[in-house]
Subunit: 284 residues, 4 copies
């Protein structure tokens, strides 16, 4: 059994859905999921479709080729087609905080995540024992002002060697350069510990404490060149009160960070996220 | 411009989506919304579709007729087709509590609800001034053990006279008989003041207080013969603490009741709810 | 039966709680509620206490006088003492949006609010019928650039005449001047339709839509001279998705605004809010 | 510096708070936290108080003794006094599910939990590697119908040997007998994977799926002889939809279970929970 997932966006035109569904039927596919969205302000059509193909002689490459000439060019689509045989490869970048790392590896271990983790990169050695206990290769690449460019080259080499599809910054306390961002556009997921756009930048819990908010949050977003301004994938919040010290805010926030980041990873890995104009469409 | 909404469910078969979308195209329609769901356990396919038809000579009846012979019979579909020209007519049943009534009429007044309220029925006279201030006909139909059957006949007559499509029990403190339920299957919406299935029946806030729960809830569901056991449309909850008296629970609960019921009404009126096997499919 | 509520804040010193509770006992009071909070960063002690006094010869004024000389001066307290016989008087300022007004008056009518509403002021005439139906005096005071100072003088006169204790801006679409703010410090409650500090200023729902957030919020705060920067009393949020248009955001936001504002009003009217250094302490 | 926490409940009488606070002052203590609650229905007074004592010659035992004769007997109090020098010892019982175990040990490792974990007991060997990687003793005590009594004796012996203060059933898939419950009254914390009292007993996610609820929950409670009916410490919920399969419910539920159980553990370990009449008072 072959199963593919198709993601499409293009200018909204009459007849797209029927054309796509017909094409699937002609290719002997059975549609098992279809959802679409029209951004009426920008007049853009988005679609996500899953289809199964029975029979051994199905070729994803042949399908893609036919899709391109029959449909994509006609409607001037931006499109991606994924075979379910290929699990995405996710590189984890961490620094010293371990809560997101434990959470992700715990889920990975229990089979909750539909992806592979070829390695973990860190600018510190501290979390190596955790990587070891989960038997995942750990590369220690220190980053200083002087060695930043060199460190990034090492990262890029590893990413290439292992055919990494996307990167997760699990509280990686370094700003990623445009070189890496441009190689992985909308493929680097960060977790920011505030409900963006409030409290952009460093020490958001301290800012939240100072402002006296009654709610704290966490936001997972794709990394773009502007700090903490990329497309938002997932957000969640928790109620707090005046009794919370900064330390209590940070502890409460850790739970938000873990769950928001894990949800963003699952959405991305299951190919449920589309990005357009710095916003996301999240399919169910 | 004509716009229709189609709701379908049937056994899950290959080719349904393509057949339906093709049919729309052949009828010169432009699909503006499509969502579907497959209940894999029961092997049932659900679809909701909105389509626009340009041109003055579109006839909803002709469309329905063609849909029936071309598609519905082939796939043995259960189906409903609504024209956007017809706003659903909603009868409100109330007793003495006014919070849901104020909330619904406030929303109605501000144009938030896509429906018409031809009248309000109550077994008490108390809320008539509110109905008057919103200029909506109010019928006082007292209910006693002795007069219950007679009262229900009066209700049914009014419902028929005004061509009512669905009924909302906005804290109507009477059990509705099977006669009414059978006339309006999955068309009577109740608000129950607990997170069902916890605390079925009378005085759920008192039961919640006694059990010492840390969360209270409200549930909007379709009325079926079994008390508080019908298909759930919408639920929400609020956190409470040991400091809440029963009175405080009730006050907090009123806010839940209002919002949960309003959301259920909107979902139903916008034809986003399908019922199968005592559960709902809620489209976005 | 006399019941008083005491609110205190002062530098944190040893022995305050014992001194205050002893004082109450000496005055033949029975403490029925006591909660305290210490802001360790600023070394400030906050306390809220409710006490009952049996016997007809209790005088709140005499109590206040004794409290002042015995305790307040010794510990250099800022303090307020309220008798439960005096319900606070709340003036409502509105413009054209009716959802918060309906919500507040509905609660007022049902006895949920422990306060009096002597009048409603609006810069537009539109909502007068609602005020009329609830039988509350409505003063139409138009505001233009030219007449703003004059309008505010009229407002101040009404506030004085009716002995108003605090003001609620229930989506009042005017910026209140420092003259009014200084007369009612930490006594003017506003509802802002975002999770502050995100989206300060005009049209926050439009900004939220543009940024592509997955959560919207509402914030009730005391009005200070800096726009939307006053002490936060209450906040709440709701999850949204890419399917929400701006209109849908606004509709969803209305529910947040109503409930957040109502909660803030209740906290303030029940003397559960203390303000220090632009932050609030909210007692249970 | 010595710090103690006092928990009291007794019949509500006039003068308790003043008597207690005076007593602390006489013992040269500085009260740094005081909260109280009166259950008016049952006329019971609850208080939690933290006090610091400067000076080397403070003795918790002497304090307890003085407290008993001076206060506790007079007011017929039930009371507990804890020194902050003694961290509570928590035994973990697990079976095969690892998500709560990872979560608790991750928090333990990062210093978030104010307690000690002397050992982990399991009826299966599966999770031993996790215990090993966190360097915590792991005892495999299989449980069958035939060996249940014997297994429990082994458990009791370990609990005694290690001076365990309380037990956490982190998805321990065995019913605990009354022998253990009676030795640890209100000291065995369970996590149940539903919003109790809905879906008592086995397979609550399956029941939730069948009932078609729109919200799932998790509940942490003290274990009593009646199944899933003990005093509730903490609850939380998550919204779901018709698109969730049972597997998706279970995955979503795992996140609830982890956080609800962790919060309950923290409340208990920080001596913030009092139990009366099968309900909890939770101090802030």
């Amino acid at each position: 059994m072959n199963k593919i997932t198709i993601l499409i966006h293009c200018k909204d035109l009459s007849g797209i859905i029927a054309s796509v569904t017909n094409f699937i039927v002609e290719q002997n596919g059975n549609i098992i999921y279809l959802d679409q969205h029209v951004d009426r302000e920008q007049d853009i059509f988005f679609m996500r479709l899953e289809s199964e193909f029975i029979g051994d002689n199905f070729s994803t490459d042949a399908f893609k080729s036919a899709f391109k000439t029959t449909l994509a060019e006609k409607f001037e689509m931006k499109w991606r087609i994924y075979s379910s045989h290929n699990k995405p490869k996710m590189a984890l970048f961490v620094s010293k905080y371990d809560h997101c790392l434990y959470d992700i590896l715990g889920r990975y271990n229990s089979g909750e995540l539909n992806l592979e983790i070829p390695f973990i990169i860190s600018n510190h050695i501290d979390l190596k024992p955790i990587a070891d206990s989960f038997k995942i290769p750990f590369f220690h690449i220190p980053v200083t002002k002087a060695t930043k460019a060199e460190a990034e080259d090492k990262q890029l080499e590893l990413l290439k060697t292992y055919n990494v599809d996307f990167i997760v910054l699990a509280r990686y306390m370094q700003i990623v350069s445009s070189k890496l961002i441009n190689k992985y556009p909308n493929k680097i997921i960060n977790i920011h510990h505030s409900f963006l756009p409030a409290f952009v930048g460093a020490k958001p819990y301290h800012s939240a404490y100072k402002r006296g908010v009654k709610i704290i949050g966490a936001t997972s977003h794709y990394v773009t060149e502007e700090l903490d301004a990329g497309p938002i994938i997932e957000q969640d919040v928790a109620h707090i009160s005046h009794t919370y010290t900064i330390e209590a805010l940070i502890a409460k926030g850790r739970d938000l960070e873990k769950i928001v980041l894990a949800n963003a990873i699952k959405l991305h890995a299951n190919r449920k996220v589309m990005v357009f104009n710095n916003k996301t469409v999240i399919f169910s």
